[in-house]
Amino acid sequence: MSRTGYYPGCSLKGTAREYEESLLAVAEKAGRPLAEIADWNCCGATAAHGTSHELAIALPARVLAQAITGGMEELLVPCSGCYNRLMVTRHELSRDPALRDKISKMIGADLKTPVRILNVLEWLETILAPGTEDPDHVADQDPGQDPPRGDIPVRDDVPTQGDALKPDHDSGHSDAGDHDPDPVRELITHPFNHKVACYYGCFLTRPVDVLKPDSAEYPMAMDQLMERAGATPVDWEFKVECCGAAFAVSRTTTIARLSGLILENAVRRGAEAIIVACPLCHANMDLRRDAIQKERNREIDLPVLYLPQAIGLAMGIEPRQLGLHRHRVPVTFSLNPRNGAPDQKPEPRTAKQPA
């Protein structure tokens, strides 16, 4: 197996600490240890490409160089913002050899060795749906076509919310599965029996020709992962809308408007949680919830979970180990025993109008 490097980025060491905690917990439980690359730097985020194009290429290029130096063949970049910058950088370096030579000289490192960059969806696919991931990342797919629903075969023996309620439901843990090692059967011991809105935002999907998501306007990769974890993804309209991204500090009113619209749509579609893969989206929808409620003039108690937190719960990892206590909006999900009925089915969430 190729050696997987891990670039946490700044947020995962600070405000998105629970993203790293849950990711590492999932990696450990799945027996897929991650090697953090040495002495990494910030990817530069939005501020760098608003300042200087070459700065915005040089900073992620140094991160790539650190992965190459460390002998990594692939690099997991869980933060969508960092993933985006690294992918764009690699794309620009490969199509502009003069720029690559210049940056290579600037940072004093080789940039020619290829490194496969994985986002958190692709990495989780290697765990929960091995063999189905496409190394070329559906490169030849027309992004305009219909969402490829059911790309990853969803096992019907994983109890969904409805199944688990059936009194004679066969857990199938020990008998039928012995001759058919299925990662889902082995790893998903506590199916996450909840309706979820899978939120991709900007940085996992755009620019489309560089990132090549399974669909530009209605991606399904995260929905399929959550389905594998036992959840029921809802059909909703704000999957790839922008949350307000980098205006978290400088323009809170914009965050409140854009993130508020996303949360309201998820609530209206019956979601019990929003699942995200980006520290900025999380901060805007969770940390900024007071501002959102004020702006939208309604109470919204929908929790925002990082994808590995939800998957981690489904893998039977304790909520505290997944950092669920670090959220601004309380998360009340707990471990759901596979054979039992879902614990404390929360009240259907509604966007309450103030009295």
Binding site: C10, S11, K13, G14, T15, A16, R17, D39, W40, N41, C42, G44, A45, T46, A47, A48, H49, G50, T51, S52, H53, E54, L55, A58, L59, R62, M106, I107, G108, C202, T205, R206, P207, V208, A216, E217, V240, E241, C242, G244, A245, A246, F247, V249, S250, R251, T254, L258, L287, H325, R326, R328
Partner: protein, 194 residues
């Protein structure tokens, strides 16, 4: 797909004595704005268009005129700073014009020429504080970033109520982490940022 650019044709057959805005944009970003036919999909999909003074499609039109006055209006606009570079416009543009890339170029030009819109002070201050933090440590140092931002904007009390909470939740690192290879970080900034 992009075909022969009328702008590159223009470049070989100059009719202006000075470099025109569209030409400058083409030279720096490779984007030929003359391909824009004003369908308006960028403006329709833009999450920020309702807050902008010049919508993305109108901005493209203004830059097509090759008029220095229009260029200055664009550089002085609030819109160049309000663009979140979310990429929705590019994803939907039938002519595949990299509008976020053009906006990035306009931002750097606006900064270089000292033409940033006064309303964008907070956004520019945040960006500068972020870059300062990077220059200093090679990483995002959140406390330093917020301190720098507050010093620039005098928004001393904004979000102060969140600070104890963040600290209690273990989400705030009071001391910065630093990249050990200081030399390379310094070199990157020296060679890319004036």
């Amino acid at each position: 797909m992009k075909g022969v650019s009328p702008i590159s044709f223009m470049a070989e057959h100059p009719t202006h004595s000075v470099e025109t805005p569209a030409q400058k944009i083409f030279d720096h970003t490779g984007e030929s704005l003359s391909r824009c036919y004003q369908c308006g999909k960028c403006t329709a999909g833009c999450p920020m268009s309702e807050e902008m003074d010049i919508t993305p499609s109108r901005m493209m039109r203004m830059l097509q005129y090759d008029d220095p006055a229009m260029e200055e209006e664009a550089l002085r606009s609030y819109s160049v700073w309000l663009c979140l570079t979310c990429g929705t416009c590019l994803a939907r543009c039938p002519q595949e014009i990299d509008i976020p890339g053009v906006m990035d170029f306009l931002r750097t030009e606006s900064l270089r020429k000292g033409m940033m819109n006064p309303s964008a002070k907070n956004i520019v201050s945040f960006q500068k504080s972020f870059i300062d933090s990077l220059r200093l440590t090679g990483m995002l140092y959140e406390v330093g970033l917020v301190a720098g931002y507050k010093a620039r904007t005098w928004k001393l009390f904004q979000d102060m109520s969140l600070v104890p909470w963040l600290f209690l939740k273990g989400k705030l690192n009071l001391l910065p982490h630093r990249v050990k290879d200081r030399k390379t970080v310094k070199k990157i900034f020296r060679e890319t940022v004036k």
